[in-house]
């Protein structure tokens, strides 16, 4: 595949040197026209070419400058050779047939004046805007050019020319057939691994048998006739050949079947060929991949659904257990278990617990009582912002360990006196506070 820079340089090359056969024939753009340096002795005067200048497909000659190396000034025509054109894009069958038809007219025009091109090939033809075409080297009598100088055009020559026989108008028909085959089938009809093999097959008419299934019977017959080694077996004219081609369209369009690295935005070949698995694999993968994803999505959806249901049921059970625990906790709160007597003083001044009487369960689950005044008249002093666990140890013996179910105590805080009594909830830890 050609890069853009390669093409740009090639376009410049094509414009500056349409062909250089190393024998002195050069065509290059002038300021207002193309010029052709004439190194051939067989074209000397412009008058010799005058009879064939009336055809639009044959490039016009402005003037001939005589000199040591005579120069032809050609009509300015912007375009690229058909060779270069085919390398970058395909031509549909209708366009190809139209192109062939105009070439056939041009060739027939030459033949009508008893002139033969002799080496019609893709590089002889310029394609311009709107598929305008010009045969640029029609003025050269290629039949008189020695064969060793025609290496570039060798594969476009007729068998009779390769045989060294003077070629007639039907030699151009053969060359036009080669072009037609290139345009409609997409390849040379006489393939070979080497130039020698290709020329051998061309010389003896050994057609590519592989084209039979691609062109169909009718077109195959037309090509077999135009590629006849015997020139007499070919069509009467180039136009007759193209007319027969138009009547026998190929089974498949070459543009639709050709697998070349060309840019065609409609077919997007580059996108398809970029996939290493190939177009057919891509299509299969494209079909199977979404299915796999859908299956995966379905599996995950089912898993999510099952988990959602399980979570919902689990949440229900947890709520039920919590509700039951709350109800039981409320009933348990009314129970009578020992708590641990703790008094908290959040006030900024100290307080005195003067008297304390409690009832509690002993180790034998008997209800016992404790009265502080049986041991002291002083009670407990609770510092500001502090708490204290109350108990009454006497020596190593503990008279009261702080257990409490019922309590009654008299508290003094400054000049205030409080008589507190209550049922200690043994299920809860906490402090006894003075009422606010």
């Amino acid at each position: 595949m050609q890069t853009e820079s390669q093409r740009t340089s090639e376009d410049k090359l094509i414009q500056s040197r349409l062909f250089n056969l190393s024998h002195g024939l050069n065509i290059r753009p002038g300021k207002r026209s193309l010029t052709m340096e004439m190194g051939f002795p067989w074209l000397s005067t412009l008058a010799d070419l005058a009879p064939w200048t009336g055809c639009a497909e044959l490039i016009a000659i402005d003037s001939l400058v005589d000199g040591e190396r005579p120069v032809l000034l050609l009509d300015d025509f912007e375009g690229i050779t058909l060779t270069s054109y085919l390398e970058r894009q395909t031509i549909g069958t209708p366009e190809a047939l139209a192109l062939l038809e105009r070439l056939a007219v041009a060739m027939d025009h030459l033949h009508a004046g008893n002139r033969v091109h002799g080496a019609l090939r893709a590089s002889s033809i310029l394609i311009g805007e709107g598929m305008a075409l010009r045969v640029v080297d029609w003025m050269v009598d290629w039949n008189q050019v020695p064969l060793p100088l025609l290496a570039e055009a060798a594969e476009s020559l007729s068998p009779e020319r390769l045989a060294g026989v003077v070629a007639g108008p039907r030699a151009d028909q053969f060359s036009l057939g080669l072009l037609a085959h290139q345009l409609l089938v997409g390849r040379h009809p006489f393939p070979g691994v080497s130039l020698a093999e290709r020329l051998f097959r061309l010389r003896f008419g050994l057609l590519d048998e592989g084209i039979f299934g691609e062109t169909g019977f009718a077109m195959q017959a037309v090509f077999e006739r135009v590629f006849s080694v015997d020139a007499e077996q070919r069509f009467d004219s180039c136009s007759a050949f193209v007319n027969e081609l138009e009547k026998s369209p190929p089974q498949r369009s070459y543009a639709d079947t050709r697998l070349l690295d060309v840019e065609d935005p409609q077919l997007q070949w580059s996108e398809l060929s970029a996939d290493p698995r190939g177009p057919s694999d891509s299509v299969e993968a494209g079909k199977s991949a979404p299915i796999a994803w859908w299956v995966m999505a379905a599996i995950f959806s089912v898993v999510a659904f099952v988990l959602g249901i399980a979570n919902w049921r689990m949440q229900g059970r947890i709520d039920q257990a919590n509700d039951l625990a709350e109800q039981l906790s409320a009933s348990a709160a009314g129970g009578f278990q020992n708590g641990q007597f703790q008094f908290c003083n959040a006030a900024p001044e100290a307080l005195d617990i003067r008297e304390l009487a409690v009832a509690y369960w002993d180790a034998n689950h008997q209800l016992r009582t404790f009265s502080s005044t049986a041991y002291t008249q002083n009670g407990w002093a609770i510092a500001p912002a502090s708490s204290q666990f109350l108990s009454w140890p006497v020596g190593r013996k503990t008279v009261w360990d702080g257990s409490v179910v019922f309590y009654s105590l008299r508290v003094e805080q400054g000049r205030k006196e409080f008589l507190l009594s209550g049922h200690w909830n043994g299920n809860e830890r906490g402090c006894l506070h003075l009422p606010s």
Partner: protein, 164 residues
């Protein structure tokens, strides 16, 4: 066109799969959390059941009400300056009587007398003298003393405030 359609379907499938997978992961994480919560809830419920059962047993363990009757066997009047008592009402519900909440009502116990403590306000009974647990603050000889006991102690007769 078909390639675009395939891509669209594939994209939709991938998006759906990703959403379903994310939802599965979140729900799995939530399930793990719920299993932990369920264990805690079950453990808490078992503990609460035990406590509730114990509380029920404890309430049956409380002694029955007895009337708080005091005896002053001394030759001086004794003042009961504060009384707190817990008792079961007619419906079996535990009540708390606190004399401080009744204007620090005090009882005068004449010498050589006995009396069932109770309190009525304008003809209606505030406390009928029943008690499971009682605490009496008495003033005797300028000193405060607290007498406390359970209804079991009241079976033996009156509470002796002062003896001869």
């Amino acid at each position: 066109m078909m390639e675009t359609q395939h891509r669209t379907w594939k994209g939709a499938a991938i998006l759906l799969a990703a959403i379903a997978m994310a939802a599965s992961l979140l729900l799995a994480a939530r399930a793990y959390s719920l299993w932990s919560d369920a264990d805690k809830a079950n453990h808490s419920l078992a503990l609460t059941r035990n406590r509730s059962a114990m509380a029920t047993l404890d309430s049956f363990s409380l002694p029955a009400n007895q009337k708080v009757e005091v005896c002053n066997q001394g030759d001086k009047e004794i003042t009961i300056s504060a009384v707190t008592a817990f008792y079961s009402d007619a419906r079996g519900k535990l009540r708390n009587f606190n004399s401080a909440l009744s204007q620090w009502h005090a009882w005068k116990i004449p010498a050589a007398s006995r009396q069932v403590l109770s309190l009525a306000d304008n003809g209606s009974s505030v406390w009928d003298g029943s008690a499971v647990f009682y605490s009496l603050e008495i003033e005797l000889n300028g000193k405060h003393e607290v007498l406390t006991g359970t209804s079991e102690d009241l079976r033996n007769g009156c509470i002796v405030l002062a003896s001869r």
